[in-house]
Symmetry: C2
Subunit: 158 residues, 2 copies
Amino acid sequence: MQPIHLMDSAIEALERRMSAMPPVAAMQVRVEGLAEHGGLCLHAPLAANVNDKGCAFGGSLAGLMTLACWGSVTLALERAGLGAAEVFVQDSSIEYLTPLYEDLRAEARLEPGQDWTGLVRAFRERGRARARLAASIRSRDGTLAARLDGRFVALARS
Amino acid sequence: MQPIHLMDSAIEALERRMSAMPPVAAMQVRVEGLAEHGGLCLHAPLAANVNDKGCAFGGSLAGLMTLACWGSVTLALERAGLGAAEVFVQDSSIEYLTPLYEDLRAEARLEPGQDWTGLVRAFRERGRARARLAASIRSRDGTLAARLDGRFVALARS
């Protein structure tokens, strides 16, 4: 799935918000774009995220996938005019499948059976919403390096 | 569980090896010590690992717990004279329970039913060993902020 290189002001604001977090700035994360299905695509260079074996550090793989999911939910709510939401990760399962020797590219998506419209509606009605998301990191040749499934919750800022 | 402040040359070497990884250096991770049960205790300051809400970034919590487990296995093998092992995380499940507004302290341990002696013996006999580890991050008052269960594998360096 190729990301759509759509950079609007909401995406730019999200990128600034992410870069203001010191650990995310250290990972040199940037937004690549938004995929057709509304999930965020993030990029981080290998050099800033390399381990002692010359491949991507597991913590960076986990962090980038978590951030891609978090950012997807945050962006969907902001674009619906619900910028007062705080999004939290509740839990996640991660599989590390193949060492990655190139830049990290994470793509997030909603798990089947959910849609962004439903998420926005739930938040609008109840001031909170839950979502299950999946993220993956693949090498350029399509090999799956890592995948994450996680539950996220959006709460009205108190 | 209070860590034993035992800093021997193997722990110092591990700390240098961790700090040589750019994403770990950015998190400002240091070894606090080794707990009685042989699991590693790691520390990282909140300032380097804070998110947009003023609490610890989920990716840093995940990274520090993964690193505490990885380091525990690496250290157990090195102390047994098996420094030629490469340790990889295979998968993990993480729960984020309470936002953490202070420095991050992660403690790792082997899951019940396993011991370091068995791990070392398996590696010595077969050049590979598997281990299930758990890690947790608690605030000073003992509240559990996050926990991780993960599977790790040690392979003889090829």
